[in-house]
Amino acid sequence: MGKRVAVVGVGMTKQRSSRPDVNGQELINEAVRMALDDAGMTRRDIDAVVIGNMDHFEGINYVDTWSVDGSGALMKPIMKLTTGGTTGSTVAMAAYYHVASGLFDRVLAIGWEKNSESDTTGAIITAFDPFWDRPIFAGAVAGLALEATQYMHLTGATEEDAAYVAVRDRTHALNNPYAHLHINLTIDDVLKSPYLSWPVKMGDMCPRTDGACAVVFASENAAEDSPQKPAWVLGVADRHLWAYTSDPYVNQAIENGWWFPAMEWSARELYDKVGITDPLEQIDVAELYLPYSFAGLRYMEALGFCGRGEGPALVRSGATDMGGKCPVNPSGGPLCSNAIGATGLIRVAECAWQIQGRAGDRQVPEVKVALATGFGGCFWSDILLFGAEKPEKVRG
């Protein structure tokens, strides 16, 4: 049966609005070489590579074969996974399963994007059904705005509550040299920023970013040779539920008992597997794929950190700030850097650094359990848990 798996090396580029100094393969290579150095490995030590991005963000078809020069996959197994915003977390899960299968001992996971090379919204619009959705309503911001209005209607949450999240993550990012946005914002600044699609304002949204991230996953035996303290995978779970833009708003109706079923169900599955009964108490730090500020309220509920409608109060209590009970996005999260295919994997990388005590000025004290999420598609959800202690048994 499956092997225990740990993260033993992390690399990422500094996230920037544009990287005209490198092409895609070169960007990937920066992160890969840093991860290999971190793991005390060379290209030769890697048994397999998993890579992901979104085709239409760079206009590259078959990224797995195209990227070989940069990824180090020459004469090695390489596989490409693409699931939209969840791509980076999907890639991390795939690397986990590669190793857990027993087929490979050292697997390199790569997520990257050069959003500056295309029109991100133009590409995202093509994610939606050409007959039903695309001609009428599509793209990321409008879809998130619908979620926000629904959430505000259900809970009475305010734009100011959301702005608190926007400010929190931007403040956290000031401690993160890898973050793209280093800006001092006030709640007032966010509230006064222009509306993109009511109630979502410029200050509520993630930026477009160029960046790459690479993470080395190792089997138990290989992890023992690692110069880094292993960050153990405790478990992973995901749900990708919907196919049409309107599905989430119709089907997750309150009468069904679910507000954000993809995240609630994947969290429930993962917590059951790992034995998490009180996430706020048991999880020490969370790196969440918050593409916009309102998600920082709603996800707290979907992830079981508080009850329905209690997200705003929890966040405003300071529990998710640095120094709080469970700091959320010490890195600044996607609100400060969103190279989409890399973003989910960066959450994993940050969790590993937190567990290893290597997160620098954004380190949370004594991290035993860390949570990473990916978000994408039609409100899809990936969840991964990492621990400082080797788990007794594998819980994929």
Binding site: G2, I60, P77, T90, G376
Partner: protein, 381 residues
């Protein structure tokens, strides 16, 4: 590797234009067939891998269109972009991890809805290669020439593959292009990009397929006859065409070496009973046969001319008709696996080859077979 079996397979008919069916319709049909084949309900599927390509579908997150159709609701699901053999390899890993007892792998493609040359042109690097207009046929022609000149492979030998595989397709109800051809007809067909002629090329196709993999424990509980995964490996060569010796098949040799080692196969030419490989162009069948170790380098033409690879021969190759008789890209690789499963089970109908105990299936990714995936399947655990 712990025993994992393929317990259900489903293929749609491959057609030039399945106008009445969208992606989701095709995936639903293939999934339904695979479930019926396995005697399973969708609730018994523990997790799902979809396989698709955003460029072919003209859609970012192309898997989103088929989430309903593959029954992944409330299941763990992921998407591989690439050939179906790679997607199935990930499905296999998820069972070996111990997390799941069964994996459904489904793959779709509609060549009719886009323009293949424009999509395959986008495989090439935008700075250095794409604006030269290169695409799948012309790049493969470069490889065909490099290979044929190096080993003295003739266009007649390549034509034999076209004649054989199109003829084989008559016995395969899902095949798109059964043709009764002569070598002369193939040789007389117009050049697209020398030395590749029209009848050396696979057609443009629509189709979908699905397989269900199961752990030993779960396979035991099913009525279906399990076909066991004996070995799987994949490997990528260099990307830029000029970085590679295009006449070489080292990535395939490496993948085959690993897959055979897993399967305990020492001499594939003696121990394998049937081969389904990715013959997008006729020369590929010869090259890949060599890379898979069924003959020495440069001997693929002679092996084919000897008749050994025909249905009654010593080593039947592409008795399904191969990609030459239907090539929904991505689907086509998984269809190679499915044909092997049917042959090992003895369920291949009119085209059944006697006594298939061990079969090899093969898929490719990237230009000129840059990346290869090799599957060894068998009737015994």
């Amino acid at each position: 590797m712990e025993p994992v079996a393929i317990v259900g397979v489903g293929m749609t008919e491959m057609r030039r234009e399945r106008k009445a069916d969208g992606y989701a319709d095709l995936v639903y049909e293939a999934t339904r067939k695979a479930l019926d084949d396995a005697g399973m309900e969708i609730a018994e599927v523990d997790n799902v891998i979809t396989v698709s390509n955003d460029f072919f579908d003209g859609r970012t997150i192309s898997s989103m269109a088929v989430q309903d159709a593959c029954g992944s609701f409330d299941k763990n699901v992921s998407t591989v972009e690439g050939d179906g053999t790679f997607g199935a390899a990930y499905g296999l890993m998820r069972i070996l991890s111990g997390s799941f007892g069964t994996t459904l792998v489904c793959v779709h493609h509609k060549g009719s809805e886009s323009q293949m040359p424009l999509i395959t042109n986008a495989m090439f690097d935008p700075l250095y290669e794409r604006f030269l207009g290169i695409e799948a046929v012309s790049s493969s022609a470069l490889q065909a020439r490099a290979y044929m000149e190096k080993y003295g492979i003739t266009e007649e030998q390549c034509a034999l593959v076209s004649v054989k595989n199109h003829r084989n397709a008559f016995a395969n109800p899902v095949a798109q292009l059964p043709l009764e051809l002569t070598v002369e007809q193939v040789l007389a067909s117009p050049y697209i990009a020398d030395p590749i002629k029209l009848l050396d090329c696979c057609p443009v196709s629509d189709g979908a397929s699905a397989v269900i993999l199961a752990s030993e424990e779960r396979a035991k509980k099913l009525a279906a006859k399990p076909v066991w995964v004996k070995g799987v490996a994949y490997c990528s060569d260099a990307y830029h065409l000029g970085d590679r010796d295009l006449s070489d098949v080292r990535a395939l040799e490496e993948a085959a070496r690993k897959a055979y080692a897993m399967a305990g196969i020492g001499d594939p030419a003696r121990e394998v009973d049937l081969v389904e490989l990715y013959d997008a162009f006729t020369y590929m069948e010869l090259m890949w046969l060599e890379g898979l170790g069924f003959c020495a380098r440069g001997e693929g033409g002679k092996l084919t001319a000897s008749g050994d690879t025909a249905p009654g021969g010593r080593l039947p190759v592409n008795v399904s008709g191969g990609c030459l008789s239907g090539n929904p890209v991505l689907v086509a690789g998984l269809n190679r696996v499915i044909e092997c499963v049917l042959q090992v089970r003895g369920d291949a109908g009119e085209r059944q080859v006697d006594g298939v105990r061990t079969a090899v299936a093969h898929g490719i990714n990237g230009p000129c077979g840059q990346s290869h995936c090799v599957w060894v399947l068998g009737g015994e655990k």
